[in-house]
């Protein structure tokens, strides 16, 4: 009961098709480029992309730009997550905070965050802090919203049981409220991290000298299509890391929770 029916052949069987699918696509791509069916100016063959990848990796270009992007992503995430969780918890617990901030946030949240770049630049000047702040805006709201929802969905019965057994103040907060809201907080953090990556790349494309977004933009302007594909792969890698990495942390920290699907 309850346990999923085991698939025939287990993991081995279920991994065959995806791997086969990727191999076939790459082989088909390579062959069609070789035969001249697709224009290599647009779709350079995978083997040449691998060569370019090795080249960019070895001369340090990829590493340098990826480090810049990861640095921005990290700080944007911290800037969004720490105040986001705090404000979200406060809004979940205190009605006054919720009713004051909720309408304000609901107004600002839907504005696409790239547009905050000029505003941030007015306040902080054109530079790194403005880029990071811009990337943090929407993430902050995502973290706040999910944290608040996490507190509010808590079963009143559990809260009352906690109080009944003598948990008050910080004890009630750390032993009952926070663990109960954690799964939701993690959802907010994951969505926030994913969104921060979107904005970091967009901001880098618009105006930065370093970073994968900047490299992408440069490779377009100089029509280096191979560099573009390699950069895209790098961004994809960061996307995978951001999305699935945090999910692993969640499953490790919250072993009592069913392993949630990553996508939402």
């Amino acid at each position: 009961m309850g346990s999923p029916t085991p698939r025939a052949g287990g993991v081995g069987q279920s991994a065959v098709l995806p791997v086969l699918s990727v191999i076939l696509l790459l082989a088909g791509w390579e062959a069609s480029a070789h035969a001249g069916w697709i224009r290599e100016a647009f779709f350079p063959r995978p083997s040449s992309l691998l060569g370019q990848f090795q080249l960019l990796l070895r001369d340090g270009t990829l590493g340098e730009h990826m480090a810049a992007t990861m640095g921005r992503l990290f700080w944007a995430f911290v800037l969004a997550a720490v105040p986001g969780v705090a404000v979200g918890l406060a809004m979940g617990v205190w009605r006054a905070a919720r009713e004051t901030l909720d309408p304000l946030f609901a107004l600002v949240y839907p504005i696409p965050s790239v547009l905050f770049l000029p505003l941030a630049a007015f306040v902080l000047g054109r530079g790194e802090p403005a880029r990071v702040l811009t990337s943090a805006v929407t993430s902050f709201f995502l973290v706040v919203a999910n944290t608040m929802a996490g507190v509010r969905q808590l079963d009143r019965g559990i809260l009352e049981a906690g109080i009944h057994y003598g948990a008050t103040g910080h004890k009630l907060f750390f032993k009952v409220l926070l663990p109960g809201a954690l799964p939701w907080i993690f959802t907010g953090l994951r969505l926030g991290l994913g969104f921060a990556l979107i904005v970091v790349v967009a901001v880098e494309m618009v105006g930065a000298e370093r970073g994968l977004g900047a490299l992408l933009w440069l490779s377009w302007q100089t029509l280096k299509v191979r560099d573009m594909y390699v950069t895209l792969l790098g961004i994809g890698f960061l996307g995978l890391l951001a999305t699935y990495g945090l999910e692993h942390v969640r499953n490790w920290l919250l072993p009592w929770q069913p392993k949630g699907g990553v996508r939402r």
Binding site: L17, P103, A106, Y109, A145, Q153
Partner: protein, 264 residues
């Protein structure tokens, strides 16, 4: 139980009143701070000035074409993506084979910020509407695929079993049992897809397009025509607000049997 609907109605009204109040308070505070010179009026012009520019832009029709351009890109991108996304999502949800073949690509491309595909699209289609719209369409496509697939996969097997017992088979089973049960997930995907597409379209406009609200913000920033910049901000915010709150209310009304947790 009869009281809950009325309660919810009044709570909804109060939220609207609070939102209006927030706008008034924020606007007045902004106006005062800007007039007193606490905020630099070159960067943060008084709210009344922004309102005047907004009213003039909308009535004299100078801003209207940009609103139209953004809306058109948004709608075309969404329409381009929604149907193929639904079809692929349904197929991946129903058949394990399709899922295993397509999953590597969806898993890799879903977390990539779709703005990053813009340079590639610019190379493939040249600088123009097609590249902008297709970049936006990718955003919606993956969101719709993923939510549709999850929606179908999360359908309670008991429901399907009961449907079978009552004689539903094949197409009938799909239309009458599986699809209605998966509808919340599917609508969520469409709604999120539309909202994220706005983010991508505005970012694309900010970066390269020569029209649209994103372009207005960018060009007004470059020329320091700040009242115009904030006027565009307000319009984008209103659009985003409709896409998040408005569509969420619509969804809740369509799926009256569902209770959704309110995350903006």
């Amino acid at each position: 139980m009869t009281g809950t609907a009325a309660q919810m109605g009044s709570r909804g009204l109060r939220a609207d009143v609070r939102a209006a109040l927030a706008v008034v308070v924020l606007g007045t505070g902004w106006e005062l701070l800007s007039r007193k010179g606490v905020l630099n009026p070159a960067y943060f012009p008084p709210a009344s000035q922004v309102a005047a520019v907004l009213a003039e832009g909308l009535s004299a029709g100078e801003l209207l074409p940009h609103v139209g351009a953004t809306l058109q890109r948004l709608v075309v991108a969404f329409l381009l993506a929604a149907l193929p996304g639904l079809v692929l999502g349904v197929c991946m949800g129903l058949w394990g084979t399709v899922r295993r073949v397509a999953d590597p690509y969806v898993a890799l491309l879903y977390p990539i910020p779709k703005v990053a595909l813009l340079p590639l699209m610019l190379i493939l289609f040249g600088v123009g509407e097609r590249a902008f719209v297709v970049t936006g369409a990718f955003t919606a496509f993956f969101q719709v695929v993923v939510n549709t697939m999850d929606g179908i996969r999360q359908v309670d097997p008991t429901l399907v079993e009961v449907g079978r017992n009552y004689g539903a088979r094949g197409v009938g089973l799909f239309w009458k049992v599986v699809l209605p049960a998966a509808l919340p997930g599917i609508l969520t995907g469409l709604r999120l897809g539309l909202g994220l597409t706005l983010v991508t379209v505005v970012a694309v406009e900010f970066a390269v397009a020569k029209s649209g609200l994103g372009h207005v913000v960018w060009s007004a920033w470059q020329t320091l025509a700040t009242p115009r910049m904030y006027a565009a901000f307000v319009v984008v915010g209103a659009l985003g607000l409709f896409l998040t709150r408005g569509l969420r209310r619509l969804q809740d009304r369509l799926l009256a049997w569902q209770t959704s947790v309110d995350v903006w």
